[in-house]
Symmetry: C2
């Protein structure tokens, strides 16, 4: 017996073996759901070109304005407004690749972004953390590390986020370095950089180069990381986001451009209007990346949802959200660029609402042929909370979706006419040879779902899905083993973090 096998045996004996789907390239072979006609897609495209040509975007960063002006955009330096001719948009977007691969530290976990590939990503950005034991609270770096560890144990999560929630016990100027170190070393997957300012983006580029053992100059040869920017909808791009975008584009690393178009708040209170504005802002951001580096990998990010018109509160996983997700897929395909969507919900608890809103988002994203599905594991409370239990509920929903996308096999053996012949009318297939031959692998085995009968479930403590998720994440955390890392690389990463912390302490102005 190998050491690993022996360890696995011991672990299962302690009841720690949690059945999960192994790593899988999730591919959606089904045609996308198209909620818009071709004419409607064209009408939204044309309306967004009018917005870009006649109204424009306010670009707060001077360098970005200057690059766009040089490329042919009309820039009004007084109002910092940039307008774009349709021809410029079409020409620049045409340079973006339709598909690319991001290499992971563990080559088996590299991801293809484009085509029919779907990549599920960890939640990113919440201010708070929660679990059933300690409730909702500001997060710490130690808890963030645990979150990453659990994410690493779940192979259905293809890429991780450097910030499943903010580690508020660390100083804001340097905590991105600790977050990057955690993402780069606790997991062996592709991770995302923070693009909130050029310095954070550049630190991510430096650290991912170290983690891969390559020179930073070699970065443009191969995507190794990605990042996301949000426009400050409506029609504005701030300095930090522009600088972050440009840093990644310059290094040939993929940038996701995601307008934050909440219909009724930061965008018109109609889906067609919100999609028009989203499209204008996404095109402008992707054009900026192409201007910085022609052919830079970009992703069209869609995040159109709506607000509760009574309170102004954001809503997620609504019917409007699902339609917007599928419509955005049509727009992204029109431009031949990969598409990013999200799995979202506005629930305050890991309950039925959290699940049905997430499912509505997920079906919107998956059948909209999103290539990256952000926030797919752990998002709660409109993105204010990273939840340990939701992470497990989501992993189950993602695994189920991945299994759903596995095609039905139809051949003589699977059609099973002989098996049907063997079983008497009113009999059962439990003991048939055909059944026994596929006993172990016939169906999806759940991570979280409890199919025991009521009495057994009740004897087991009547644990609902959230309570069971609580037990599962603890068992996964107990089982966690850090993926191997060359000690020299680990040392180099630590040294980089230490050096940069010192620099940022000495010269806070360098954080710009």
């Amino acid at each position: 017996m190998t050491r690993t096998a022996s360890r696995r045996g011991r672990r299962e004996a302690r009841g720690h073996g949690i059945k999960r789907l192994p790593w899988r390239d999730v591919v959606n072979r089904l045609p996308p759901i198209e909620v818009l006609s071709d004419d409607q897609v064209e009408a939204i495209h044309q309306a967004s070109l009018r917005v870009l040509a006649e109204i424009g975007l306010r670009v707060l960063d001077g360098e970005a304005r200057s690059l766009l002006a040089k490329a042919g955009a009309q820039v009004d330096e007084t109002t910092r407004t940039v307008c774009f001719d349709p021809a410029l948009i079409e020409a620049e977007i045409a340079k973006a690749p339709a598909s690319f691969t991001i290499r992971a530290r563990n080559p088996a976990k590299s991801v293809t972004i484009g085509g029919n590939h779907i990549n599920f990503s960890m939640v990113g950005g919440p201010s708070f953390v929660s679990d059933l034991d300690r409730g909702r609270r500001p997060g710490t770096f130690a808890e963030l590390c645990d979150f990453q560890r659990i994410g690493q144990m779940l192979d259905i999560i293809h890429t991780t986020n450097c910030s499943p929630f903010e580690p508020l016990d660390l100083p804001p100027e340097t905590r991105h370095l600790d977050r990057y170190y955690a993402a780069a070393t606790l997991c062996d997957k592709v991770w995302s950089a923070s693009l909130l300012g050029g310095f954070r983006a550049r630190d991510a580029l430096a650290m991912v180069a170290i983690a891969h053992g390559i020179d930073e100059d070699a970065l443009p040869q191969q995507p190794l990381i990605f990042g996301n920017i949000n426009t400050n909808s409506p029609r504005q791009l701030d300095v930090a986001m522009a600088q972050g975008l440009m840093a990644l584009a310059r290094a040939g690393q993929p940038v996701v451009v995601t307008p934050f178009t909440l219909s009724g708040a930061m965008a018109p209170a109609t889906l067609a209007g919100a999609l028009t504005q989203q499209n204008a802002e996404a095109l402008a951001g992707m054009v900026l990346a192409q201007v910085v580096r022609p052919g830079a990998p970009v992703v069209y990010g869609g995040f159109t949802s709506n607000v509760d018109m009574k309170s102004g509160a954001p809503a997620f996983g609504t019917p409007e959200y699902t339609k917007a997700a599928q419509a955005t897929g049509q727009l992204a395909r029109r431009y031949g660029v990969p598409y990013r969507s999200s799995s979202t919900n506005a629930s305050n608890a890991v309950d039925a609402q959290a699940a049905y809103e997430s499912e509505m988002s997920l079906w919107g994203a998956v059948m909209g042929h999103a290539n990256m599905i952000f926030h797919a594991a752990g998002w709660l409370e409109s993105g204010l909370v990273g939840s340990f239990e939701k992470l497990i509920v989501d992993a189950e929903m993602l695994q189920m979706m991945a299994e759903y996308l596995t095609p039905i096999v139809v051949d003589e053996d699977q059609l099973a006419v002989e098996a049907i012949r063997e079983v008497a009318p009113g009999g059962h297939f439990f003991g048939s040879v055909h059944t026994l031959a596929r006993y172990e692998t016939a169906f999806y085995a759940p991570l979280l779902s409890d199919w025991r009968n009521f009495e057994t479930w009740q004897e087991g403590g009547s644990l609902d899905a959230a309570r069971r998720a609580n037990a599962i994440w603890k068992r996964l955390l107990a089982d966690y083993e850090q993926p191997p890392l060359d000690p020299a690389i680990d040392e180099a990463l630590k040294a980089y973090v230490a050096k940069r912390k010192e620099e940022l302490a000495r010269d806070p102005q360098s954080a710009a």
Copy 2:
């Protein structure tokens, strides 16, 4: 102010006004998701024809065997096995209508079964009832009436079931009469008959004729009710179900034929095999209806799910279930008959699992273009429980699905370029004329979802979705008003129930 308006005003003042979607004909204009290729559909069709021709079904009812023999089927009276030539199957199924309308007592609530129409139906058949106050328990007739009343208040539920759970305080031989009376008088919607035996079917036909004020002989002119039979999979049709089917078919009333093909238990442990067996059994049942009355309205019922291979427990809303639901739609469309699916789950609590399994079922059914979605409101615990809280959670999920299926409008006004022009970069659309013009109607207003921020939600008692559903069904019940019914019809229904109870008490043998 009209009396109704005044009453509504009072009610909302008491805080009882629960916002719901008004009655709507739900139509799915999107193309169905097709998980099988045309060749695969044909392979399953051909395999099921082999099962029907070479292996056959055991039909326990002599009358059914005799009718099938007369129509050209091969009947072995020793084994009670009926085999069907492919030509017989094709010829008989071709007689079934592609679409039909079932008239409701309230004509505004009549339903079209076929085409792209979707009808959501109440849960039917559970043994138990549950709510958060009193837990899971045997149900009573009084509780069943409350369940019907709440169903009546929810317009998203198109048709009701005579038995959302068994009223175990009533004697089994006659309780169908009380259930029919409740369904016919507490609601004004189409309801389903119990087809467990010819006498129960005939009582439903008599009572629905009375409720509509027509002569029973006139029933074949117009569907007024429907019923469902399950084959005793594998490959068996019992006496009660055959008699129930024949009674409805004879009266020209729609019969749904639903094989109970749990893959790995009553059907092969492969999806292709389970679908082959399902298809064979559904075809046989639909042929029996055509033999009884050519052109009788029938519906292809799909219920293929899988078991947990370790315990044999049924599982629902699994990835396999979703695929089977969409594949079954393809089979039903091949035969040009309407399709029935279900919204199901195996959870023991109204929790995240209940919601995500139901959503997986619902997306399977809706995108499989099911025309009738049974158990769409209130089903819990693999169908063993009718849950008051799940009824509300489901109504929310159904309303969201109905809104999702509403097409996006794209025109100059909706594209909102002028509204985008008016709002400054980084500003907001809250006060814009474009937003104010659609303040009330812009977005779906939820029944159950809580979008308040965490602090407000916490101050309100931190109620999760199940707890909020508990409050909502009580408020709907308090608001319930019985739909108008001609007192003479009410008297006639009561008289029929009294007469039949007496007959069944005097001659229990007539219950056959």
